[in-house]
């Protein structure tokens, strides 16, 4: 159990040319080394540099084991990179904070709290008064489509409902960036589609910056402004593809749109080409 991420300070990196004024997250030459159980060094991420603009929906797409979740954990401040650094609004990320809200594939709801209790956790930690937090959270629970389930415990909900609660719990403390780690990966296809639609609807309202990890090409293209493709282990950035599709996006229209289809097919082809050596950046 690690309560705190290790505080090994990242080596000072040469300051890059000032990024765009709208840069929300900057990942700067990040590498991550793990020790395997056999005490061998394993390079999970190799020299990743990436800038995520304010309000962008960016997906990180890659095969399992390419370190894409690790990259998300580094931005979350849960893991310190072995090399390089990550910044949020120009300030170095040294630990988790309510400006970056994670949503995990495993939901990670507090089993001892009800739906309302889970959603209220963040605001209460931020010092919002109980009555005020409750009113806000009830509205939020309604927004994610769970009105009437406020007093249920997570174990009484389906997977899709749990993930809605997890999303509401994170939205409740108003993070500027949503960090979504394969959030719909554990759900069945139908639930997954509905949650994708609902996520887009919610996102259209306030256009938070979203960093979304997935291994589904369709999901990445459907949701994102930008898809960051990663290579197999060690994870490098292979290609960054701008998804130039109109918003708001509607699934029924998009699936018929030849541009959408081309993006999906092109990206899938790139995967089939096998790993590319060296950084594509």
């Amino acid at each position: 159990m690690n309560v705190l991420p290790s505080r090994t300070e990242a080596k000072a990196q040469p300051v890059r040319a000032p990024g765009q004024a709208t840069a929300m997250i900057e990942i700067d030459h990040v590498s991550q080394m793990f020790q395997t159980s056999a005490r061998q060094d394993h390079l999970a991420l190799s020299d990743i540099s990436l800038t995520i603009e304010d309000g962008a929906f960016v997906s990180i797409l890659g095969p399992s084991g390419c370190g894409k979740s690790t990259l998300l954990y580094i931005v979350g401040g849960f893991v310190s990179p072995t090399q390089g650094s990550a910044r949020m609004k120009g300030r170095a990320i040294t630990g988790p904070g309510p400006d970056r809200g994670p949503v995990f594939q495993e939901f990670a709801l507090f089993p001892w709290k009800t739906v309302l209790g889970n959603v209220m956790y963040g605001p209460r930690q931020q010092g919002v008064k109980a009555a005020e937090a409750e009113a806000q959270c009830r509205a939020l629970i309604e927004m994610v489509g769970l009105k009437g389930f406020e007093d249920f415990y997570p174990k009484e909900l389906s997977g899709g409902m749990k993930q809605r609660v997890a999303l509401a719990r994170t939205l409740a403390y108003h993070p500027e960036v949503l960090l979504m780690d394969e959030p719909f990966g554990a759900l069945d296809a139908h639930t997954r589609t509905r949650l994708q639609n609902d996520l887009l609807n919610i996102w259209e309202r306030d256009r938070k910056t979203v960093l979304f990890v997935t291994h589904s090409v369709e999901e990445a293209v459907f949701l994102s402004d930008k898809v960051v493709m990663m290579t197999r282990s060690p994870g490098r950035i292979r290609e960054i593809i701008d998804i130039d599709l109109p918003r708001p996006r509607h699934r029924s229209e998009l699936l018929l749109d030849p541009r959408y289809q081309k993006y999906v097919v092109d990206i899938e082809r790139m995967f089939d080409d096998g790993p590319v050596q060296g950084s594509a950046l």
Partner: protein
């Protein structure tokens, strides 16, 4: 019939069989009634004894030692278990001590405890604590060290200060294991308090049993035995109910 009621009835059947076997041993002359009194006689004497002040005082003494020893074990076990799970430093310090002391038959310490703490409550409470401590400590440690990392991350991201994570996440998340340890600890406490009182005591249920045995009062010998079983049953039921209430959000464990 509800599942619970069915379970309860099913549980009563073997109990009834044990009592029937006991009765049969006496009725068919396998054991002389003077040495193994029939269950009816024992239960009648129990009902009678429960109204006498001296017996009540013995029950009270046993219960006091049991509760005191058990509660100290809970406080110590949970504190040390959580601390060891949270800090590698404390873990390295505690681990060898636990490994050496856990398999030790604690009752072997009792003569020393008697010399150090006397014949009163202190020596017995200490022995109960020593025996109940380890299951509670070990299950707390296990529970706290297997808390899902992402629960902790979720709390930290929501703005929980790292030092509060212990109370806001680790402790509640480890509650199922902790309460399982407590249940084992409680049963052990019942056994050990009785044992200690049997070895050397001036009061308590164990003392009542030994006194009766030494004077060949077979009926009086069985009364404290039944009493401690019933007490154990009631306490275990109470702890089980508390556990169900505290863990109402957790998946069935």
């Amino acid at each position: 019939m509800t599942v619970r009621a069915q379970d309860l009835l099913l549980g009563l059947v073997p109990l009834a069989l044990v009592i029937a076997l006991w009765q049969a041993l006496v009725s068919f002359g396998y054991a002389p009634a003077t040495l193994l009194p029939p269950p009816g006689l024992v239960f009648r004497r129990l009902a009678q004894q429960l109204t006498t002040l001296t017996f009540e005082q013995d029950v009270a003494a046993t219960l006091f030692r049991l509760f005191a020893g058990f509660l100290i074990a809970v406080v110590l076990g949970v504190t040390i278990g959580i601390a060891a799970a949270a800090s590698p430093l404390i873990n390295s310090a505690v681990r060898p001590v636990v490994r050496v002391l856990a398999p030790l038959p604690k009752v072997a310490l009792y003569p020393a405890l008697l010399l150090l703490l006397g014949f009163g409550h202190g020596s017995k409470i200490t022995l109960v604590t020593a025996d109940a401590l380890f299951p509670i400590l070990l299950s707390t440690y296990y529970g706290a060290s297997t808390v899902e990392q992402k629960l902790v991350w979720s709390a930290l991201a929501a703005g929980t200060p790292p030092r509060e994570v212990l109370f806001k996440v680790i402790l509640p998340a480890a509650a199922p294991s902790i309460l399982t340890g407590c249940r084992i600890g409680l049963v052990i406490s019942c056994i050990v308090v009785f044992l200690a009182e049997m070895i050397t005591s001036t009061d308590g249920l164990g003392h009542v049993l030994v006194t009766a045995a030494r004077t060949f009062q077979a009926v009086d010998m069985f009364v404290p035995l039944i009493t401690i079983s019933l007490l154990g049953l009631i306490l275990n039921g109470a702890l089980g109910a508390l556990r169900s209430y505290l863990l109402r959000g957790f998946p069935e464990v």
